[in-house]
């Protein structure tokens, strides 16, 4: 009988019409400015720079190694190395970026910069309402806009940030141990130097320095 399929379809649309009033599963729309979609932890949008502590300038983890600049597929990152050095996240003296700009009108959110960064300093943000009146200057983010605190990173990507923090804590502990060991060795060396021969103290120093240095690639 012609018309059976049509009637079946009509029933289906009627079911959906009524269903949209009762079932949240059918009516999935979110009324955007008032409600927001639940935050998904893995979500990524544009990169930002992580800093530790409270001072964005001092705590910035980035050491201006420019790997991300080289690896960025659309070449949207621009870094200028500083002339002087400052202590980095693990306390080692490093360069820092004098300029760090990301042109997010070019960026394609691929996250390769995050993958290649050996210092865990560049991460992906989740802010998506970035519309702007000025499509050139307004979408060129400078270091000041890019730098966001580690606490913020912990709120948006808790699992990942916890791992990073643990890694840093380990590194810091190692560094502290190293410093301590070095200091102790120095003390011992001095003590021994006062009493004993020089050659022995040099070997101990070499032993302590043989430990691996700095963040690993993940």
């Amino acid at each position: 009988m012609v018309g059976k399929g049509i009637i079946k379809g009509m029933v289906e649309t009627a079911r959906n019409f009524l269903g949209s009033y009762v079932s949240k599963q059918r009516l999935t729309t979110i009324q955007y400015p008032e409600e927001r979609a639940p935050q998904i932890e893995a979500a990524r949008n544009f990169p930002f720079l992580v800093f530790d502590g409270t001072d964005a300038e001092q705590g910035l983890r980035c050491v201006a190694c420019q790997i991300c600049e080289k690896e960025c597929p659309p070449k949207c990152i621009f870094i200028e190395k500083s002339k002087d050095k400052k202590p980095d996240a693990t306390g080692k003296m490093q360069f820092y970026p004098a300029t760090f700009n990301i042109d997010i009108s070019v960026c394609m959110s691929c996250q390769i910069c995050v993958e290649v960064c050996p210092f865990d300093s560049i991460k992906m943000d989740v802010v998506y309402d970035l519309s702007n009146n000025d499509r050139f200057a307004g979408l060129l983010l400078h270091k000041q806009q890019l730098a966001k605190s580690n606490e913020y990173y912990n709120t948006i990507h808790p699992t990942e940030a916890a791992a990073v923090d643990a890694h840093f804590a380990e590194e810091r502990a190692k560094a502290a141990a190293r410093v301590k060991a070095a200091a102790e060795a120095k003390l011992a060396a001095e003590a021994k130097a006062a009493t004993d021969a020089k050659a022995k103290s040099e070997t101990t120093l070499a032993d302590t320095q043989a430990q691996p240095v700095g963040g690993g690639t993940r």
Binding site: G9, V11, I67, E71
Partner: protein, 386 residues
């Protein structure tokens, strides 16, 4: 270089057999047209509403992806592959990853293979769902099936976002594995989505599969013969709708597809209805694969640790790797000269090659059929023009 060939897409009306030449109407469908699925143009010559001649015009979205990739590192091209067929980014990643893995001889750990199959089949689900919606939209069903399809696609995209961080541009696969492992609870969410998906298919079946208007519009329209389909390199569901028993998942045994129990639906007539139904049935088979994969997925590493992220240089040589993407055979051909970036990088776009037969399918049909036939070929202009 421009030899004596006629370089424009202008159609010489005098070549068309028709009663009165003055009755013919030349119509440029596109590049701004609601149902060319992007910026695509068809120069059509009509007699009344009958199509006498059709010439596709490409290149409005051309950005020379292949040239860009020649100056990128191997990894740097991965996010660009997302943008080829922007509806199914993961299968694009997959095809590229397979080509690079062949080129460099990289092994993929088992869990990564399972993850690839799961995400890949989810991609197939969302692509086919979208396609059915778009096809109905082209037929003038005022968006209802499309919205239902998008409602389901939204759930799959949420899954992708939870796993890869992005909804469409996933950039998920890496050479020798996947980028990240599943977060806690993701697999359960995915199981739930897959378990609920058949409900959508049933709903769709009720809404349209038995619909007389749909059958009238699609059956015996745009018939593609088996011989032409093979000769013209048609692949994927479009070829299988014409009865070509060729699914790369079964033929190449790539990844771990031979561990799963699934069937390949085959059409008889090769008309629009068959193309539509083959995709519909393929979704049910994909659900079967997903259920098995989610049941069997082992623990383990997700990426081959020997593969370098930076400074990846395959040995000189070449490789052609292909997979069964939702659109058809998606292949990547790479030539390496030992440098950081590929010497030659080529995408075999299924959408473009499936369009080879567009003119053959459309001649003699109505204008209204042209958009339906185009819709049933399932093109994405990002891939056609690259």
């Amino acid at each position: 270089m421009s030899d004596a060939t006629n370089l424009t897409a202008q159609i010489d009306i005098n070549t068309i057999p028709a009663l009165g030449k003055e009755q013919l109407l030349e119509l440029a469908m596109g590049p701004q047209h609601p149902s060319t699925h992007g910026v695509f143009r068809m120069n059509v010559v009509l007699d009344g509403e009958r199509v006498m001649k059709l010439k596709p015009v490409f290149g409005y979205l051309h950005r020379n992806h292949e040239k860009i990739a020649e100056s990128e590192t191997y990894l740097g091209s991965m996010p660009y592959t997302d943008r080829l067929d922007y509806i199914c980014s993961i299968t694009n990643n997959w095809a590229y990853a397979i080509a690079v893995e062949k080129l460099a001889g990289i092994e993929v750990p088992e869990r990564a293979e399972y993850l690839r199959v799961i995400t890949g089949e989810l991609t197939r689900l969302q692509n086919h769902a979208c396609l059915l919606g778009f096809l109905m939209q082209d037929m003038g069903a005022s968006g209802t099936p499309l919205m239902y399809a998008f409602r389901e696609r939204e759930k799959i995209m949420d899954l992708f976002e939870g796993l890869t961080g992005a909804r469409m541009m996933c950039n998920y696969l890496r050479f020798g594995g996947c980028r990240v492992d599943t977060p806690a609870g993701w697999m359960d969410a995915a199981r739930k989505v897959v378990a609920e998906f058949p409900r959508f298919l049933d709903e769709y079946e009720n809404l349209l599969v038995g619909n007389e208007i749909l059958m009238d519009r699609t059956q015996e329209v745009g018939i593609l013969s088996k011989e032409l389909a093979i000769n013209a390199g048609i692949s994927g569901p479009m070829a299988r709708a014409s009865g070509v028993d060729y699914d790369i998942r079964k033929v190449d045994h790539y990844s771990i597809y031979d561990r799963f129990n699934f069937r390949i639906p085959l059409g008889e007539r090769g008309d629009v209805y068959d193309r539509y139904m083959i995709r519909f049935l393929e979704m049910r088979e994909s659900i079967k694969i997903l259920e098995q994969a989610m049941r069997d997925i082992p623990d383990g590493p997700i990426v081959d640790p020997k593969t370098k992220i930076r400074g990846f240089r395959p040995k000189p040589g070449e490789a052609y790797g292909r997979i069964e993407s939702p659109k058809g055979e998606l292949g990547f051909y790479l030539v390496s000269d030992g440098a950081l970036n590929p010497y030659r990088y080529r995408v075999r776009p299924p959408s473009l090659i499936n369009l080879t037969v567009l003119e053959d399918l459309c001649i003699g049909q109505n204008v209204a059929d042209v958009v339906v036939i185009l819709g049933s070929i399932d093109i994405v202009l990002g891939e056609v023009d690259r």
